[in-house]
């Protein structure tokens, strides 16, 4: 598991990592969050997803558009990113973690679950099967951009 990940593995690593955050958020929200930690988790979710959506849109989806004939799937994925961005904006505008935030984070989790499932079930197999797509090279590109964006976010924070 310490090998360099290809594009699909890298994006899936984001999926799994953000799912862990969603799960932890729900655990805290439902058990009363005695330590008051869920606001920070919501912020982490927003950061992760923002970077993830951006690298997908800048690098992964354009590469796929060239390699495979699935523009409908990609359009849908992009639309789902837009929907997620609206929810993220709502969360980021909230001052405290309360019931309202719980509801929006849950809605975001549902939307992401659906989006991830479509990528894993439909998009990744097509990408893996595409003869003219170098997923390893794409993986490096994604990682580089991801690190840049994460650095920029950390700087801004």
């Amino acid at each position: 598991m310490l090998t360099e990940k290809d594009a699909c593995q890298l994006l899936d690593a984001d999926h799994i990592a953000v799912k862990h955050l969603f799960v932890e958020y729900a655990r805290l929200a439902n058990a009363g969050d005695p330590g008051g930690q869920r606001g920070a988790i919501a912020a982490a979710i927003c950061r992760e997803l923002t970077v993830h959506a951006q690298i997908e849109e800048e690098i992964f989806y354009p590469a796929l558009r060239d390699a495979i004939d699935e523009s409908e799937l990609l359009d849908e994925a992009q639309a789902e990113h837009q929907e997620a961005r609206q929810l993220i904006a709502q969360i980021e505008a909230m001052r405290k973690a309360d019931d309202a935030m719980d509801a929006i984070v849950a809605a975001l989790a549902g939307a992401i679950e659906h989006h991830v499932k479509e990528e894993r079930d439909a998009l990744f197999p097509k990408a893996k099967a595409a003869a003219n797509l170098d997923l390893d090279a794409l993986g490096s590109q994604l990682r580089e951009r991801q690190q840049d964006l994460e650095g920029a976010m950390a700087g801004a924070a």
Partner: protein
């Protein structure tokens, strides 16, 4: 009237005695006057005292008070008369003649059949084998034959008794809830609840009431698997000092139907299909989904049954509910409504479906074993009883009808009041005598508890008693030891199959004067009086077969349940619908079900439809066009995550995989740390038996990869030791073991060289980011960091599952 001679007046005293004596020796006919005391003659004395006792009741003093509403709600105790001695109440004066069998005269005013169960316990230590008649058996190996090679003889009463009894060992299984497991325990009251109820268990702080509890599945037969997707029965028999109270509940607070009229239909639909008797212990088949998709009131219950609540980790980790609205009644006769909730101290934790399916193969007794082992090892299952108490006036304001068994009262609307705790601390001595013969009946209530008009409850009040009569072979099942109350039982019920009690005296009716009026009716002060609930008729009502209007809101609370789940729980619900409906063979039934779901949640319906490869059908037409707006649209209490538990660790099991050459010290350290927290840490090897450790000692594996597969454990530890790791790596079971632990989101601790096993099992590369982030429940450490890792592992075990790694379809 002319003066006549008084009869007998002319007789002398000795003559009177003689004639009284003679008269008393007959069991029919008698003199017109009993004016001789009959001193010195028992029979004459009995006759005289009987006469006096009867004469003490010249008329039925209660009769006038049997009429009118006011008397009806305030009945008086029955009239009694004091006999001169115990003699007139006897069946026979010969009761004085005792033997070893007859004993002496019945203890006064006592039903001795309610003595603690020790009266019927049998312990055969040091005893010889006997027949049922107590005849010692000289040879239990051979039947009686004419010559060693000759024919067996009909006269062999010992063989025939043995075979005949064996042939009749089975009784009919319960129509529903056939598969069950039971335990003894006690209920302890926190504070007096006398403001609301006079029920015996709630009278004072610290009061202990004995209980017997039976957990069960509903659909499967007596020998079916424990981990089926199903409702679990949660039936509690309180042996109160004012009679038995059975709270016959489930682990879900709602039900599929609203009226007992539909109960046989529901059960016929869910049970194995009648033509080929399949499937066993499963609702995933045509007839069930055909029925429920034509009964939209089942939508709310379907959400519960498709949630992880239908596959609990343990009976100790599920809630219980009384389902219906009941009433509490206080000493003043005032009543309020109540809903009963049991909350497990160990938290609410469930299995995942893939795990439940696998467990049902490797250990169909999973929940029964878990319950037994928890109690044997002192990790007593404990539940807090909470009440939702509300008035009739409040109920009238609710957006739903409290008589509707498909509706909950959200805890945000009526909060739970904790009133006591239930502790299960004793396993039965004998499954059949106790768990199988126990008879729960919703009709069993005590003063202080009463029913609501819930039409499903009404049918249950009839059905449970009725079904026991066939199952337990007659109307005397209340005398089977496990069913006998601890309160005195005195009535005029007589005879029937298997009667145990021997009532003294000849009176089996009331009113009577021959037994001094006893047993007499208790009256309102001490006896059960039904709440004189008024019929709330806003318009003219008469006999009718119809439901109240609010019963027609079929989806508001289904939506509430779904919306209140965490995202992972919502996914599990969608996956369960997908699984169940995929098993259906008729597409139209799937479509009808999904069309019903659209009214509860568009998101859920879409997910289910996608998983079934079908188009989204139109929503089902609503039975109620404009349901009342709900008071609550999200209830966090409905998520399993709301109850992580005060003591989630005791009773859990962890596997430590050991092979020859294992690093023994760390195994011992981890095992001790787990045991200290009440966790059972089992050494599982490629085979059972001794395993040489790296430091030259031996460890004893008490389970094997073959006989205790990974999914039976709550967590996994992979100890260090190159050679042991190599041995485990070449056993295909090991990789399955790890794969299942990973897939079911359980904590895994890999030490040193054992980390390689995770990679070999196919741990995905894409887990690395989550590992850095933390909270995955996967711990990979060098031996020198073991102490901290064990603490983190135990903490992760207490969190039950780590669903962050759960993907659909699974990563591994």
């Amino acid at each position: 009237m002319s003066k006549t001679t008084k009869p007998g007046a002319a007789k002398s005293a000795p003559a009177k005695k003689t004639s009284a004596k003679s008269a008393a020796r007959n069991t029919d006919s008698g003199p017109a006057h009993l004016d001789a005391p009959g001193a010195g003659d028992a029979l004459a004395e009995k006759m005289a005292q009987t006469g006096a006792l009867a004469a003490a009741m010249p008329y039925n003093a209660n009769k006038a008070r049997e009429h009118g509403f006011a008397n009806g709600v305030e009945p008086q105790p029955g009239a009694t008369a004091e006999p001169a001695s115990r003699v007139p109440l006897a069946s026979t004066v010969s009761e004085q003649n005792g033997t070893e069998k007859t004993g002496s005269v019945a203890p006064e005013g006592v039903n001795a059949t309610i003595e603690p169960l020790d009266r019927v316990r049998v312990d055969s230590a040091g005893q010889m084998l006997t027949t049922n008649q107590g005849v010692r058996i000289a040879d239990n190996q051979n039947s009686l034959k004419f010559g060693v090679r000759g024919p067996a003889l009909l006269e062999d009463f010992i063989l025939r008794e043995k075979i005949t009894h064996f042939d009749h060992e089975r009784i009919p299984e319960r129509i529903v809830h056939a598969r069950g497991s039971g335990a003894h325990g006690f209920f302890e009251c926190y504070e007096p609840l006398t403001q609301y109820t006079k029920a015996a268990p709630f009278k004072e702080a610290g009061k202990i009431t004995p209980v017997f509890v039976r957990f069960s599945t509903v659909q499967g037969e007596r020998g079916s698997k424990d981990t089926a997707r199903d409702v679990r029965g949660f039936a509690v028999k309180f042996y109160t000092d004012e009679g038995n109270w059975d709270l016959v509940g489930n682990n879900m607070p709602v039900f599929f139907i609203q009226d007992a009229m539909k109960f046989p239909d529901l059960v016929h639909a869910v049970k194995p299909e009648p033509h080929h008797q399949m499937p066993q212990a499963a609702s995933a088949h045509d007839t069930f989904w055909d029925f429920v998709s034509l009964m939209p009131e089942s939508t709310h219950m379907l959400m519960w049954v498709m949630s992880d609540r239908a596959i609990p980790r343990s009976y100790a980790t599920m809630q219980g509910f009384g389902v219906h609205s009941f009433r509490l009644v206080n000493d003043a006769g005032e009543s309020v409504f109540v809903k009963f909730h049991w909350t497990p101290k160990a938290g609410t934790h469930s299995l995942v479906w893939d795990e439940a399916v696998k467990i049902s193969g490797a250990d169909p007794d999973y929940h029964r074993r878990d319950l037994w082992e928890r109690i044997e090892s002192g990790a007593y299952p404990e539940y807090e009883l909470g009440l939702q108490i509300f008035t009739e006036e409040q109920a009238a304001q609710f957006s739903f009808d409290i008589l509707d068994a498909t509706k909950i009262i959200p805890e945000e609307l009526v909060p739970l009041v904790p009133v006591g705790r239930l502790v299960l601390n004793r396993n039965p001595d004998n499954f059949f005598a106790e768990t199988e013969q126990v008879a729960f009946c919703t009709a069993h209530v005590v003063p202080g508890i009463d029913f609501s008009n819930d039409p499903l409850l009404a049918g249950r009040i009839h059905s449970y008693v009725d079904t026991q009569i066939t199952r337990l072979g007659g109307p005397n099942f209340h005398e089977i030891p496990i069913n006998a109350p601890v309160a005195q039982v005195h009535n005029n019920q007589r005879d029937g199959f298997h009667r145990q009690a021997i009532p003294r005296g000849r009176v089996a009716y009331e009113p009577n004067s021959l037994a001094g009026g006893c047993p007499f009716q208790a009256g309102a002060a001490q006896g059960f009086v039904s709440v004189p609930a008024r019929l709330q008729a806003t318009e003219e009502q008469a006999k009718v077969r119809a439901k109240p209007e609010k019963f027609a809101d079929h989806y508001t609370q289904a939506r509430l349940f779904y919306e209140s789940q965490s995202p992972v729980e919502q996914t599990h619900i969608a996956n369960a619908f997908r699984f169940e409906l995929s098993k259906v063979t008729v597409p139209a039934i799937r479509e009808r079900t999904v069309s019903m779901l659209r009214n509860a949640s568009e998101q859920l319906a879409r997910q289910v439809a996608m998983g079934l490869g079908m188009e989204l059908p139109d929503p089902m037409p609503l039975a109620l066009a404009e349901p009342a707006a709900p008071e609550v649209t999200r209830s966090p209490a409905l998520s399993l995550l709301a109850r992580p538990g005060d003591s989630p660790l005791p009773g859990r099991k962890v596997a430590l995989l050991v092979g020859p050459g294992v690093e023994g010290e760390s195994v011992a350290k981890v095992q001790a740390a787990l045991l200290a927290r009440g966790v059972v840490a089992r050494l599982v090897g490629p085979r059972i038996g001794p395993m040489a450790t790296l430091d030259g000692n031996t460890l004893e594996a008490d389970a094997s990869l073959e006989n205790e597969p990974g999914f039976l454990f709550d967590g996994l530890v992979l100890p260090d030791g190159e050679e042991a790791v190599a041995a485990l790596a070449q056993d295909g079971h090991t990789l399955e073991f790890i794969k299942d632990q990973f897939r079911h989101c359980k904590p895994i601790l890999a030490i040193g060289a054992a980390r390689g096993l995770l990679a070999k099992a196919g741990l995905p590369a894409s887990m690395d980011k989550s590992q850095e982030q933390g909270g995955t429940g996967l711990f990979m450490v060098d031996a020198d960091l073991l102490d901290e890792a064990v603490v983190a592992f135990i903490d992760a075990l207490a969190k039950h599952r780590h669903f962050g790694r759960e993907m659909d379809p699974p990563l591994l």
